[in-house]
Amino acid sequence: MTAPAGLLGSLPPDTVVLDGACGAVTAGELRDAASRLPEGVSRVLGQTSDARAIAIHLLASGDGEIHLMTSGTTGAPKVVRHTLASLLGRTTSFTGDRDLQSARWLLTYAPATFAGVQVILTALATGGRLIVPASRSVPALCQAASDYGATHISGTPTFWRSFLMLGPELPALRQITLGGEAVDQKTLDRLRNAFPKVRIVHIYASTEAGALFRVDDGRSGFPASWLEQPVGGVGLRIREGELQVRSPRRMEGYASAHESPLLEDGWLRTGDLVRHEGDRIQFAGRKDTIINVGGMKVLPLEVEEVLLMAEGVAEARVMGVANPMAGQLVVAEIVVEPGRDAQQVAKAAAAHARSQLAAYKVPRSIRVVDSIAASEAGKKRSAAP
């Protein structure tokens, strides 16, 4: 096979490129395994959680398509058609970056997801090393990060809030990346306080649109000026409150029978609702998560952000429940910071919500739970079908 542009570059065969639960895997082993696979055929990555197998398939993909599956809460998964080129994007331009050559990336995402593939490809393209955890529970991830001296960790805000509760010491850590969900200011601030010397960035990407942009100024959302001036070849515009993008790294289309978010003019609907606040565009929530309370629209994200600002609230999830009078009502689950009185925190969170939100947005019940399970993709809620 012909080595895809940039991947593994000219790494010596004995360079360890994957480590952790998969054992030490060298560049030579990966190249050999990839060379035994047929080239130029379409590959569906949705069937394995084996990071090593995915790395081999990516290496062997050549000009063939790579199909990624996105899981919905119901219905058949969407199959998204990409190529190695669209997935790699600008990653190969960092090849030769000394800082990245010594990087140790912790894989917190499911390996076959778009975010997982991005982390695997970044490590392979820049000569870094990928740390594969034994399991993707947050304690196991912290342990792997510590054992293998992770320098770069990319995870969802949901992952990072759990991570902050465990409070691991990671002296080797150089970069924190948040992706996969909208980032709230409090989570950014808490990470900044816990890791004052670490670079903190949040990225905006989707399986359909590909990698779009990164924000590194420590503030949630992104600069409103980017609507006027494309960033990294990505055009951004707002239509009826929804963010639309023109992306050079977007998918080819769906391989499955789903309505395409691609518009006739080449732009793509993201499903993310945004609002303009001064010099900033803030993410308001996913279009498909809207709760309808007596005809009034509530975005769970807005309510979650308010609950997270309340003293002692470590994590919050807001959802709608069916109601015969109102259609739906807003209810919430919260996780309380260790050592706090759960009932007091819940009461204070309810009072805070009442003081900050219109009545129909205030959760009608706030239940204290031990943990809020993340989906396979590390998100608080699965993408809607």
Partner: protein, 88 residues
Amino acid sequence: MDTGNVIALIRDFTVRRSEERGLPAVEVSEETVLMGDTTGLDSLDVATLIFELQQATDYDPFADGFIEFQTAGELARMFEVKVKAEVQ
């Protein structure tokens, strides 16, 4: 759970609402009209009250569609149906 107990839950609810709003508590009897000036409850409050009664009784009298009601007693009797069913 009989009507009296459901009425007690409704009374509980109105007391909490009044406290949250810094208003004097209102007397709730079977004849009290739930929504409006007497109780100070709006439609969102009554929706919430139904939610709480559903949680407390683990029963949904509206499973087959909305049923009209006006007074505390009418609402309480809908939830009472479950108690009778359980006794039989």
